[in-house]
Amino acid sequence: MSTTGFNSQNGSGRGQAYANGPSQNPVPLQPPGQGYNMPHQIPYNPMQAKAPMPPGPGLYNSGPYQPGPPASSYQGPPGPPMMTRPPMGSLGVHTPPQSSSPSPGPSPIPGPRMSPLQGAPTPPASANSYYPAPPQQQPAPPAWQYGAPRPMGAPPPMATPPLGPMGNHHTASSSPGPPPSAVGYGVAAPVPPPPAFHNATPPPGPGLPPTTVHGYVQRGSAPPPMNPSAPNTYQPGRGPYGPPLPGAPLPGQPPSMRPTPPPTGPPMANATPPPPPRPPEGLSQPQMLIVSDIDDIFLPTPDSLLVNFNECKELVQALLKSLPQMFSKTMETQSALGPALQSAFKLLSPTGGRVSVYQTQLPNVGVGALKSREDPNQRASAKDIQHLSPATDFYKKLALDCSGQQVAVDLFLLSSQYCDLASLGCISRYSAGSVYYYPSYHQEHNPAQVERFQKDLKRYLTRKIGFEAVMRIRCTKGLSIHTFHGNFFVRSTDLLSLPNVNPDAGFAVQMSIEENLVDLQTVSFQAALLYTSSKGERRIRVHTMCLPVVNSLSDIFAGADVQAITGLLASMAVDRSVTASLSDARDAMTNAAIDSLASYRSAVLTVQQPGLLAPACLRLFPLYILALLKQVAFRTGTSTRLDDRVFSMCQLKYQPLAYVMLMIHPALYRLDDLSDEGALNISERTIPQPRLLQLSVEKLTREGAFLLDAGSVLYLWVGRSCSPHFLSKVLGAASYAAVPQVMNSLPELDTAESQRTRAFIGWLKEQRPFFPLLHVIRDESPLKSSFMQNMIEDRTESALSYYEFLLHVQQQVSK
């Protein structure tokens, strides 16, 4: 049984969300969120039921994806947004309500932990510019007081504001659960000095030259002494919600951003010593504190590192704008991710929330340092794959600690080399975070990945979120649930602890029958999720599913849900390959197919016929198993990077079933003969519905163009002799040779074919919560091999073709 995500269809009239077998409207493409269109789902607008709005700046829009007010707060099944993605501009600034009880004293806001996350997206203008291209950097010195273009890696800390009751500190309690992601940058901008050393350099006094990168003064754990020149604008009576006090720079230490600037720039020796610290004028500049003791990390100031985003928005923006320049010439290339995570955890423990880690290399310093353990020669090994399990316990233990304090850690891996995702991924896996992976990410050389990252980040920051969640899955007496799959921590026998719950996660459970069920007509499963919504309300969401109990095996076979079976098998295989070995997992999957068909043959079929017979529901089961065997996660014999493999395994366990199935068995369409027959009409757009094709090169022809929808990536393969009509009308190219090598979007031409194609591709893209890349590939493109790898029905050097696999299964079944 598989309860995946919150899209479980409880017989709610959605019908066969996961139909068995291919249909004209391929099942994986029916977004679970299509429920938005269903008439019986009344938009539930909890906000309208409440009288007083929190006295915040504006109504808190519950997310940019709901179209229009009535559905705006619809806490419906948090499936992928069904409607069109709102244009960038409509994001607006979602400011979370200020604490509803503006208490004068610095009392922490109990209970609801608001998510200024939703307020995090900076105004639309800069929504796309989280990582402004370098040329856009203002020539003015960054917000650091020491002048801009210093080739120094670590701008020495500003006048560190004195500790204690001296102002400029936002008491951390003032912000009700600020989002950890923006936290680091709460106000001050913390950025830890170039990835490695956290130095607790003493705040330079007025006459003390700032330390250079190499002149770190090891301060141990003593907090930096006070700087007399610091806060000359301290206002003692400031309440906790006061805006950042002018004058005193706010210290901060955001371990969450971890940029790894390439070592460029002149060597340190040529660096001119920066001018002595000027007294800060107004809180207009974020400040950085450097903690050098990475073995025993501590928070340099007890408060004011975590601040309310809305109050310090300008500072955060200033920090983000200045961040790329700050480290552009640094020579430090080491990464101390472990200590950074520990300090982030310390920072967030009082309030809980979310940490976003952006990692571009292997962490190699401090606790949790990892070594590169991938052997490039073993990538294509036909035997077992090593190093699928974590190298160190550190991240798992830290994730468990985080889970206990309701902190979730999300990992964005933007590296081109081996990053030991097997170990790093643990930090997200057990703290209910998510892992995003952008192999070969490069700002300039790989704009497609950059765009994908931007879109994913936007979605990440603006999607719905629930905090401090626990989920309990109950079932009828006589059944028991014994294994769970997904990103969470199992706190007790059926209680899952999810510090963050988001609509892009899927869960799977395995149950077993403990007692005799003869007396029961139906069994029920109920998943109850208790969470704090982003508006601060504590909610429970319950899904219940009832299944009939039958006493004959043929009924079981008639009601089998092949996609759920495949999804669950994939999760189980991932577990098996980590604990046992990959070849074990592969054999187990094949045996699953063989056993089920063998039992069908022996128990259900009355007449023993030659050949391989399968029940109608399971007729695609061998195909899906073969697809799993050829999946990046489980394939052997083909060169696969270890990180790619591990990420694929993570996705198999984490994604909701619809996208897992797309990943396993992509959908292939022929695009050059789209027509309007059978097209869907959605909001006055006509979306053609081409037929699904089998995944074999037999179905490809040189005269056509085909679209392969593999979930997170779309390949548009153009045949060599494709009709010039298609080329010109849709791709805007005069001839085959004129189709550019790298093309990631279709030009907006005014022709009917272009509109149809774009409508179709746009429709595919909108249905999913992540942003799929489109690659238009010609025959000789380097991406052709990845396109062809998806042709699972074909034979390759290391794998069987579909027909051969069926023969193999048949032989085993008839034994």
């Binding site: 974590p390 316990d393 468990l400 007790s492």
Partner: protein, 143 residues
């Protein structure tokens, strides 16, 4: 007569009592886990501290009986010694965590395995307690 063997048996009697105590602790701990009284993370710490003492005491037994030339007793303890060694190096948990991995212990299979293990160990230790008692008396009386 008070031989070395008798002395070994006496010592092992006492230590076996402590082994039984450890086993009972394991059983209670896993039972608490299953009944949701405790969270796996918190539960783990005292249990992990018990693992090495238990293995070392048992190893001491084997060495003692080897020196005392009580072959039958050694033979009975050898399988457990192998099992302990295997467990130590191939624990179905993480590298440094002994006994169980808090992140995955609540999965039904692991929990059942740990419980079974704890019960078996306790049964074994109780039986060996009485066996040592008998052997001690026997070696004291006959010599």
């Amino acid at each position: 007569m008070f031989t070395f063997a008798a002395f070994c048996y006496m010592l092992s009697l006492v230590l076996c009592a402590s082994l039984i105590f450890f086993a009972i602790w394991h059983i209670t701990a896993f039972d608490e886990l299953q009944a949701d009284f405790k969270v796996p993370i918190d539960q783990g710490n005292p249990l992990h501290a018990l693992v090495l003492p238990e293995y070392s005491i048992h190893g001491l037994f084997c060495i003692m009986f080897l020196c005392a030339q009580e072959w039958l007793t050694v033979g009975l303890n050898i399988p457990l010694l192998f099992y302990n060694t295997w467990r130590y190096f191939h624990s179905p948990t993480d590298t440094k965590e002994q006994l169980y991995d808090p992140a995955s212990v609540m999965n039904g299979d692991t929990l059942r395995f740990c419980q079974k293990e704890a019960w078996c160990k306790m049964a074994f230790f109780i039986l060996s307690f009485f066996y040592y008692l008998y052997c001690m008396v026997y070696s004291l009386v006959t010599s």
